[in-house]
């Protein structure tokens, strides 16, 4: 090992020996059963985006029913409930979780911390293929007798396993539970990899407090997922037993379609606690990688250091920790002991404070910046708006008594789509525009990107902002049709039709994005190694796209934090993390910290 001269204040991090990587010998081991995190990342991304297209089509179908009830005869109530259930579960677990952690995590963690690969490349490969199997099982339920489950993505028993619900007494619910269990097994392999890689495989000089916030976000989210997913796993096992073996974990003495069932003693609320003990951290498992990525997008494209880096890291960790003690805010009106409301409302509103700090620091990073309105920057700005909007409506729902009229209405649908649907997806788009040049060596088309951006952002806002007011009026969610409600004026139907039309347009515009992804592979402008003039290590690779092993002969050595933009006295407006200090170029900012 070479003794590298380290600048003042640098700390030698935990590190592992530079190990020999597995060398693929054939096309199959290079691109199919690959052990290269970057290939696995692209595999994750392609599968997750494909599932996303299916989920998008499902959302079109449900919107057609809501906007024009009765017009499309093939969408009966059974089908409608199957569509909403599959749309929700696909988006939350199989698209967003898989894309952020499996996709961005795999691509960015090793590159950003200067590692050659994940620490367990073989397990990493297994993780993807198990995820792929989970997707196959999930999709299989569309073709199973009775179709997929229509229990809602929350799968509340006992209805999820009874005959009054689509798929309840057929294959739908079984395949859903089995698919989730497979997903969790696959994710655990990936998640352990991400966490251990960040802790053990950082290159020399890459202290924890020099890591880009993207890595912090993905790392914290992976750690949380390792703690949260087991609760869902347990819930799935018990419900599978209830459904297949006749146990009574979640089933008390009840009747099914008028006939008493031979069950007793189970607790439907137990499942809800297990589900939300997973489900709430899950929101942040999706949000924290988005927080991290958007911080780096804003900093890079505003050519300014991220404001309050240390506060940003602590806020991430605080949100991660707090998110484990807020789960029952999904259950204020569930019939649990109502006194819980005091505790969970308080923790829920406290979590607003670190979240608000993150928002302040993003917008303060814009202050006195040099803002380049690139496509990734536009998506980052739109993320802030939709996230703030969705976060603020969370203050309504988290404040226990205000939740009473609003819970289970379209207000909730609008809220969580804005905050954990639209906002993270805008970050995903921004991130793809940002890192596509590194992955492929070519830029995405800018004009198509701007078209995609404006329609998606303004369209999604026009879909979900007005939807809150339907819920405020009292329109419940998960209604196949509103039908006759004395308090709903006819204009509400007009609004529903409007939302549907916008949803169709926004959905169709995503085809522009898909076209751009494919077209630019061959015809995009050649990017070069560092087209955004960014500081982080992934842009400093000797080759673009980076080959297996990332760094050629020598791993990079890190001398500074990730945000040295527009350093006074520097000759360029950015200083890469692996650039040593010289006499004229003092180590600035947190390098001293």
């Amino acid at each position: 090992m070479v003794d590298v001269p380290l600048g003042p204040g640098t700390i030698i991090p935990a590190e592992i020996e530079d190990v020999e990587l597995y060398h693929p010998k054939s096309w199959v081991t290079k691109y199919v059963f690959s052990q290269d995190a970057k290939v696995i990342a692209v595999q994750y991304a392609i599968v997750a985006l494909s599932v996303g297209v299916v989920a998008l089509v499902l959302s079109w179908l449900m919107r057609l029913q809501l906007g024009f009830p009765g017009v499309f005869s093939f969408i009966d109530a059974n089908a409608y409930y199957q569509f909403i259930t599959m749309h929700g579960m696909m988006m939350v677990v199989y698209v967003l979780t898989a894309l952020f952690l499996g996709g961005f995590g795999n691509y960015l963690i090793p590159l950003m911390i200067g590692a050659r690969d994940m620490v367990f490349p073989y397990v990493n490969m297994l993780s993807f293929w198990i995820y792929f199997l989970a997707v196959l099982v999930l999709v299989a339920s569309f073709f199973a007798p009775g179709g997929p489950t229509g229990a809602g993505w929350t799968l509340y028993p006992p209805q999820a396993i009874l005959s009054g619900t689509p798929g309840g007494q057929d294959w739908g619910i079984i395949l859903m539970l089995v698919s989730l269990m497979i997903f969790i097994i696959g994710f655990t392999m990936g998640g352990l990899n991400y966490v251990v890689t960040v802790l053990q495989a950082r290159t020399r000089g890459m202290t924890l407090m020099r890591m880009p916030l993207t890595v912090w976000g993905i790392f914290t989210a992976s750690f949380m997922a390792l703690l949260a997913f087991p609760a869902l796993f347990v819930g799935c096992v018990m419900m599978l037993f209830d459904r297949a073996l006749g146990t009574s974990f979640f089933v008390p003495s009840i009747v099914e379609m008028g006939q008493p069932l031979d069950r007793s003693g189970g607790s439907p609320l137990l499942f809800q606690h297990l589900f939300w003990f997973f489900g709430h951290p899950e929101v942040y498992i999706v949000a924290l990688p988005a927080f991290g990525i958007v911080s780096d997008l804003i900093s890079t494209h505003a050519r300014r250091n991220i404001f309050g880096y240390r506060m940003m890291v602590w806020a991430l960790l605080a949100i991660g920790a707090l998110s484990f003690v807020v789960w029952a805010h999904h259950m204020y009106v569930s019939g649990m002991n109502p006194s819980f409301g005091f505790f969970f409302a308080t923790t829920t509103l406290i979590i607003a404070i670190p979240t608000a700090i993150k928002v302040y620091n993003w917008i303060l990073t814009l202050w006195r910046g040099d803002i380049h309105l690139t496509v990734p920057m536009l998506f980052a700005l739109a993320f802030i708006i939709t996230f703030v909007n969705g976060g603020l409506t969370g203050l309504f729902l988290g404040n226990v008594v205000v939740d009473v009229p609003l819970s289970d209405t379209m207000f909730v649908v609008a809220h969580f789509h804005m905050v954990m649907g639209v906002a993270p997806i805008l970050v995903i788009f921004g991130a793809i525009y940002h890192w596509y040049p590194k992955v492929t060596g070519r830029m995405l088309n800018d004009t198509l990107g701007k078209l995609h951006f404006w329609v998606t952002f303004l369209g999604a806002y026009a879909i979900f902002f007005p939807m809150h007011y339907l819920g405020l009026m009292g329109v419940p969610r998960r209604y196949y049709e509103i039908g006759e409600m004395s308090f709903v004026p006819p204009s509400a139907h007009t609004l529903n039709a409007f939302i549907t039309i916008v949803a169709l347009v926004v959905g169709a515009t995503q085809m522009v994005f898909v076209f751009n992804l494919i077209w630019s592979l061959r015809h995009g402008r050649v990017a070069g190694g560092n087209p955004w003039r960014a500081t982080t290590l992934e842009w400093q690779t000797p080759e673009t796209p980076p080959p297996h092993g990332n760094w050629g002969k020598e791993q990079p050595v890190v001398y500074r934090w990730a945000y040295d933009y527009n350093v006074p006295g520097a000759e360029q407006d950015f200083i890469p993390q692996n650039q040593p200090a010289t006499n004229t170029l003092p180590l600035m900012g947190l390098a001293h910290a």
Binding site: G164, T165, I363, L392, M588
Partner: protein, 267 residues
Amino acid sequence: MAVALILVLVAIGSVAFHLFSPWWWTPIASNWRYIDTTIIITFWITGVVFVAVVVFMAYCVFRFRHRPGQQAIYEPENRRLEGWLTVVTAVGVAAMLAPGLFVWNQFITVPEDATDVEIVGQQWQWSFRLPGPDGKLGTSDARAIGPDNPLGINRDDSNSKDDIVIEGGELHLPIGKPVKALLRSVDVIHDFFLPELRTKMDMVPGQISYVWFTPTRTGTFDILCAELCGVGHFQMRGTVVVQEQSDYQAWLQEQTARKFARLAPTE
């Protein structure tokens, strides 16, 4: 330029939509006016924050957009500013949470003079049970459910003798009298949702939950199921008719007479 303008328009459009759109909550028909007040407080605080953030962003985009010679400042952190923002946020959060918890305490504390009414959910209809002259509801058990006992009432419990069962989904209530709704389900989870009375609570099989309210306005109000309960969820409707005391008594007499007519051994 254009980007900054559009961001401002998003903020203005949102506020304008809030103020001028025809979609707003229904006029309240219960004592839970405090809930509405807390929502208004929350709208003010969150609305101000939203507009401030978006306008600030728009200003930054306009003022600090890239032009030749534009240089960003180098300021990694500012402890004072960060501290102030944290404190101000905490105060804003407390201003919303305090009234929320205060009202929640009222929401879960049932007044002594409240009348018990049982609400029973089953796929996909509503039934009700009034305690009768003794003011007490008899116990129930899902295992006792049968064709002649659709709600599973425990016939051995003397309190159940005078209970009045109402099927058909229409419940009458007297105005101005607090009601404690005891919520029960015989099959899956349902939710007793009265949008105009700002009342909502899940009904969970195997347990009895409750919610209380005082109707303050006569009229007919929708009961909706607000927890996905299977394929007929959206059709699970009922009504609450709030009446003046005299009208209510007349309805109650009719129900009682019907009960005894049914019990009379004519067959």
